[in-house]
């Protein structure tokens, strides 16, 4: 029992990274995903890696099962219980629209039909007092009606101000358990104990929607793992932490960004190990691109996410901006004859034209092939052949339409895709006032390293890091992730009327819950507790999060927090109001438990190898092709320096070094690239 594995199931591939605790060996395997039964691909990946499951002590799973269930709307039939008088909350939403001049936009339907949105007589007020007691008789009748009506598999409960006083929601679950045992229940104050009832209700409904499915998936996986003698099964959450499988079953909405958070956590770990400071993670796969900012190698988080316009998932998750830009993204020309790329994708089937599987429309991958940037020599160890002629044919219609050469069009496709990705990168960085120029771009996903240097230039980033296994980096992240739980409690308090005792009690209670949960998760050591408070000027409605020290808090600690708030406000929004009264709103504790550290394996130093080939590659269409050396990634030993133009190929990705860039191989086999030459 000495092996730890991280497995990431994506839409196309399931990736595995293995760490042998005895030998320190790090290994990867890659198999095709099996969307109809994702756990099969998981066990396929074990087999491909030559693993006896009994040797697996610890298995962390990143999954897109929840994400895909939401996108494809394949979750459970849900009923919603609300405060009486507010049953239409899912239909009313926030009454805005995404385009201000579109007569034909159709407001999205949420996940529960109106006939199953049921008002229950009860009402809690802002201070937690009860205006209308819970009408248990009515509630019993409604539960029985739902039970007897059939079809419903999960119940979401979201009452007004339940985050202040959860009694009615808790009692509702007791009654459901009593009258209708086995039904999955999601309570809004547990899913998201924050104000703004629509966002809370929406998130709770999505949780219930996923619960039966994820419950079955997790239970099935747990069973198979047990049968295979696997030590411990953990699941990666959207916030980058891991949770036990049985807990994941209880809060599946926490898994909607399980997949991408692996790569982001891996980025954080690598950045810290190498002391790289500010990072920007960019994950470019077959259909999508995800960007995330990691100031000081810490990931940024958000709770303003939307599944689609008007359908929020207001849960803390990695603040990754996803756009439809991947290797398979289609290029097209709009009515203004402007070249566009994505968001439509050729997907895995038929895939880019160059895959020779029937695709005829040009994709980003076809453009890269046409420019000579992508070669078939390495991809999936030669399993995948690339048809350059097919790529050229696919580009022809666009070239005619735009009156440009195919090369120029291919260049244009890459430029537009890069621009779209740069825009996504900006959205995650500038919303918070960060200047990206001192950051390191960490590029992964199958297509990330191919575009990384140009993206870096667009954002004026000097350094790019391409990890050892860029295609399996998310799986690697799953392996590294800490256990992390977030606890929050909203409690209005003005700083001038600071109730120090209550503030300390609030943190103590949140931390008590954290310690309990970590014991349940099988930890023997106490987690690291990170405190923060959401603060605003009295009168504002949105908050900035200010971190707080541990231990018994004093008035001086709060004065320091006030000063930090003013500085942050100035930095984010261009001004502050000295002397203005502050309001403390939500108390947060993030509890982080570190499992074991994965030692990054080291490689030997050695001289630069001879290139395995030389080929013409177009970097700027105007300049024509440039003779470019091609290297095998595995042949690059520590200390090797390569000057662009060069191509570095490996099984799971291709790294492009444009002229002027210089790459150095570090002792952990990472490629560190200075995009404008040696630093």
């Amino acid at each position: 029992m000495s092996v730890r594995v991280g497995v990431d199931t994506g839409g196309t591939f399931t990736d595995l990274v293995l760490f042998d605790e005895d030998t320190g060996e790090l290994r990867m395997s890659k198999v095709l995903s099996t969307p109809s039964r994702p756990s099969r691909a998981v066990f396929d990946s074990f087999a491909k890696a030559g693993l006896d499951t009994h040797d697996i002590a610890y298995f962390v799973h990143g999954t897109t099962v929840a994400t895909n269930a939401l996108i494809e709307r394949k979750g459970a039939e849900v009923a919603l219980l609300t405060t009486d008088g507010f049953r239409d909350i899912l239909r009313i939403q926030r009454v805005t629209r995404p385009n201000h001049f579109d007569l034909h936009w159709v407001k999205p339907r949420h996940f529960v039909p109106r006939s199953r949105c049921i008002g229950v007589p009860e009402r809690v007020l802002r201070d937690g007092s009860v205006l209308v007691p819970l009408d248990e008789q009515r509630l019993r009748e409604e539960i029985e009606r739902l039970r007897d009506g059939g079809g419903v598999a999960a119940v979401a409960v979201s009452y007004l101000f339940s985050f202040v006083n959860p009694e009615h929601e808790l009692r509702t679950r007791e009654l459901i358990d009593e009258l209708w045992p086995g039904t999955r229940v999601s309570l809004s104050h547990e899913v998201l104990p924050r104000w703004r009832e629509y966002e809370r209700t929406s998130t709770t409904v999505l949780d219930a929607y996923l619960k039966p499915l994820m419950h079955d998936y997790m239970a099935g996986l747990e069973e198979e793992c047990e049968r295979g003698g696997i030590g411990q099964l953990l699941v990666l959450r959207s916030n980058g932490g891991v949770m036990s499988a049985d807990r994941a079953r209880e809060q599946p909405v926490a898994l909607v960004r399980s997949g991408p958070s692996g790569g982001i956590m891996a980025t954080a770990a690598l950045g810290k190990a190498l002391e790289l400071g500010d990072l920007i993670a960019c994950d470019m796969g077959g259909t999508s691109f995800e960007a995330c900012l990691l100031p000081a190698s810490e990931p940024a988080f958000t709770n303003l996410e939307e599944l689609e316009y008007g359908v929020p998932i207001a849960l803390t998750m990695v603040d990754a901006r996803a756009i439809g830009a991947g290797g398979g993204s289609l290029a097209w020309v709009d009515a203004a004859r402007i070249l566009k790329v994505g968001p439509q994708s050729a997907g895995a089937d038929p895939g880019p034209a160059c895959y020779g599987r029937g695709g005829t429309e040009p994709t980003v991958t076809d453009a890269n092939v046409h420019l000579g940037r992508l070669t078939a020599d390495f991809l999936l160890a030669g399993d995948l052949a690339l048809d350059a002629d097919a790529a050229a044919r696919a580009l022809e219609p666009l070239a005619e339409r735009l009156g440009l050469s195919r090369e120029r069009v291919a260049q244009g496709i890459v430029d537009v895709a890069n621009n779209n990705m740069a825009q996504a990168l900006r959205l995650v960085s500038t919303d918070r006032g960060y200047d990206t120029r001192g950051s390191t771009l960490v590029a992964y996903g199958g297509a990330g390293p191919l575009h990384a240097c140009e993206l870096a230039r667009a954002l004026r980033i000097q350094t790019v890091l391409v990890p050892r296994y860029p295609g399996a980096f998310s799986a690697f992240g799953a392996l590294l992730a800490d256990t992390r739980f977030d606890y929050t409690q909203t409690s209005w308090m003005r700083l001038r009327q600071l109730d120090l005792e209550r503030a300390n009690d609030l943190f103590a209670s949140l931390e008590g819950r954290a310690l309990d949960d970590f014991r349940r998760e099988g930890f023997t050591e106490a987690p690291r507790l990170v405190r923060s408070i959401d603060v605003r000027y009295v009168g504002q409605n949105w908050e900035l999060t200010v971190s707080m020290p541990g231990g018994e808090l004093t008035r001086a600690d709060f004065e320091q927090a006030a000063q930090t708030f003013g500085e942050e406000h100035e930095r984010f929004y261009g001004y502050s109001i000295p002397g203005e009264e502050l309001e403390l709103l939500t108390f947060n504790v993030a509890a982080v438990g570190t499992r074991h550290t994965v030692e990054l394996p080291r490689i030997e130093t050695g001289p630069a190898p001879e290139p395995i080939a030389r080929r013409p590659v177009v970097f700027r269409a105007d300049d024509g092709p440039v003779e470019t050396a091609v290297y095998r990634r595995e042949s690059l030993l520590a200390g090797v320096e390569l000057a662009g133009p060069a191509i570095v190929g490996q099984v799971d990705a291709t790294t492009l070094l444009p002229p002027g860039a210089v790459a150095r191989v570090d002792e952990h086999a990472n490629l560190l690239i200075q995009v404008e030459g040696a630093a």
Partner: protein, 599 residues
């Protein structure tokens, strides 16, 4: 210029142009996020009643984001007006110009407009601007909406003045402002948030100019406008030349009972240009329902932009082919000192719907009328919990009109705005009243092949004495009209009941107001309640042609009774099985068609 060859409008690199345009639009969005996060009033941080725009050195708009159409359209006029009055030559780096004057092409007094020149190497290269609906502006009622009869009752008015000079607050302007409003602290915080957003935008503009150079930036601004102009002209050219006239009424002005006010709109299409002529509209009214020229022009742009395809980048180029004629002193071009707050909230959407009716003479892509009101209800008083005065403007979604491809959306903010509702939990935390109910109102009306969307029903209970209530709302009498045989929508209802009473009474009967929807001076006390029902949209097409599956869906959603399904749509639902009886439906529809007017 009829050419659709947009590429020839691009003198910069098309790829670069895309980058610069996206960067500018992103800048507007970022300004909005900063506004939301830092402002004080729920009007800004929940309802998002503000618009952030960027203008170029020619004082022409180069970027906007999906904010409030009424505000965005008026910036086309009020921003250059404000700059011209100060004089470009008098602007210095770090200056911010401020105005809220409705007679200078602003939409109405509560719209506060701030404009900041962006200097680069001693020259103004661009302007960043923010137009935002300030909750309280002084005047006779909290939150500015009621039955005003002149501008002096509406509140404090600023002609264009500098509110920042070289990065410093102009103290006197701030002092005058906060001395004349009910919630000085909030007004100050909101102004700072607005101005803060301009500074944020300027940083983003500087990045762009630093990166691509002044010349490229200036050329991109021209290209951005020219591309949009050509796209607009191509759309207009595809419409048949002609004059398309339509008229409609705003039900009253809050001052003269039962006197409707007519708007006459003629859309003249000639080749790739379009004139919107409001000649023939009524003279200006006595209450606050008048439109300023800025509001009317904005409504004309709004209607046209709703008719063209929705992927044209919105900027000054979109407005170039459109001319607006609005006779001064009329209901659609108010003269000083007549009142005009509600012209922007309720007359604007009615104007848009009248123009959409004109467009329907040649296009099926038009729609039936929407709920036609922003649902502006002002609350003010003292919060007993804090002893601090408060002023809150309540806004509400309405049903939209049916259209060729779908039912109207339920509970959506009316066309002149794009504001959000304020969460119950936020409103109750900040103000001393409760919401006892907030749900859809499946009223009987708006039937059609595609029905109008539903409005909502809300009940407030007040928790303190002396709550002052005023309102500027619409469709208490004149309902959203149907199109192509669709039926009219349902009415707005505002009702009151004293603590312990069971019947709702309306402002006109109970408080002697001239109007059901445009009034002030209603005072509610602890335990009293107020009902607010918003209207549905009009229906589109013949109800007997409605897809029975949609009728069944409404029935399953408990929005339509089986009886109404049979009587209105001729769809017979077997309630026991929950299925449509096809044969009975065919027969019933035949019967209703034959019966015609008996329906």
């Amino acid at each position: 210029m009829t050419t659709t060859d947009v590429n020839s409008a691009i003198r910069t690199d098309p790829f670069l142009l895309e980058i610069v345009r996206n960067h500018l639009i992103t800048t507007c969005k970022e300004m909005g996020i900063a506004m939301m996060r830092t402002s004080y009033s729920p009007m800004f941080n929940e309802a998002l009643d503000f618009s952030c725009v960027v203008f170029d050195g020619q004082e022409e708009m180069i970027a906007q984001a999906p904010f409030v159409p009424a505000q965005i359209g008026s910036t086309v006029h009020v921003v250059p007006t404000a700059i011209a009055e100060i004089g470009v030559e008098n602007l210095r780096p770090g200056d911010v110009v401020f105005t809220n004057d409705p007679y200078r092409s602003n939409c109405h007094l509560p719209e506060f407009v701030v404009v900041k020149p962006y200097f680069h190497e001693g020259k103004v290269l661009a302007y960043t601007a923010n137009i935002a609906h300030m909750t309280d502006v002084g005047g006779m009622v909290p939150a500015a909406f009621g039955d005003h009869q002149n501008i002096f009752q509406e509140g404090i008015r600023f002609p264009p003045v500098k509110i920042y000079e070289e990065d410093r607050e102009v103290e006197s302007i701030f002092k005058i402002l906060i001395s004349n409003v009910r919630t000085p602290k909030h007004s100050y915080g909101d102004m700072k948030a607005m101005i803060g957003s301009l500074y944020l935008a300027e940083r983003r503009l500087a990045e762009l100019v630093e990166r691509y150079g002044t010349d490229t930036f200036v050329q991109c601004c021209e290209d951005i406008k020219d591309v949009s102009e050509r796209l607009m002209r191509a759309e207009i050219a595809s419409w048949p030349d002609g004059e398309y006239q339509a008229s409609g009424e705003l039900e009253d002005d809050g001052v003269v009972p039962d006197r409707p006010w007519k708007i006459n709109g003629t859309v003249v299409i000639r080749d790739d240009e379009l004139i919107v002529d409001f000649t023939g509209s009524d003279p200006q009214c006595f209450g606050p329902a008048n439109q300023t020229f800025g509001t009317t022009a904005s409504a004309a742009y709004n209607a046209v932009l709703h008719m063209v395809r929705s992927d044209i980048p919105y900027n000054h180029g979109c407005y170039r082919p459109i001319s607006v004629i609005a006779p001064p002193g009329s209901f659609v071009n108010v003269s000083y000192p007549a009142s005009c707050t509600g012209g922007n909230s309720d007359t604007h959407p009615t104007t848009v719907d009248i123009l959409l009716k004109a467009f329907s003479q040649f296009s099926e892509r038009s729609s039936a009328a929407d709920g036609g009101t922003c649902g502006c209800i002002g609350f003010g008083g003292e919060d007993p919990r804090t002893r601090e005065p408060y002023a809150h403007l309540h806004l509400e979604g309405v049903g939209w009109g049916g259209r060729d491809d779908a039912d109207g959306n339920d509970a959506q903010f009316v066309k002149n705005g794009n504001c959000a509702n304020t969460p119950v939990e936020v409103a109750e935390t900040r103000y001393p009243f409760l919401n006892l109910e907030y749900q859809l109102e499946p009223g009987r009306g708006g039937y059609g092949r595609h029905r109008g969307g539903y409005g909502t029903r809300r009940i407030f209970r007040f928790l303190s004495d002396g709550v002052q209530i005023s309102s500027h709302t619409n469709r208490h009498r004149v309902r959203a009209w149907g199109l192509f045989g669709g039926e009219d929508g349902t009415n707005t209802v505002i009702g009151f009941r004293r603590n312990g009473e069971t019947e709702w009474v309306r402002a006109r009967e109970a408080f002697g107001c001239a109007s059901y929807g445009k009034f002030s001076g209603v005072v509610m006390n602890d335990g009293d309640e107020m009902l607010f029902v918003t209207p549905s949209g009009g229906g589109y097409g013949d109800a007997l042609e409605r897809d029975p599956a949609l009728v069944l869906l409404d029935w399953r959603d408990e929005l339509l009774s089986a009886e109404d399904a049979r009587e209105v749509y001729g769809v017979v639902i077997d309630e026991a099985s929950g299925q449509i009886d096809g044969a009975a439906t065919d027969a019933r529809r035949e019967e209703l068609r034959a019966g015609g007017e008996s329906r």
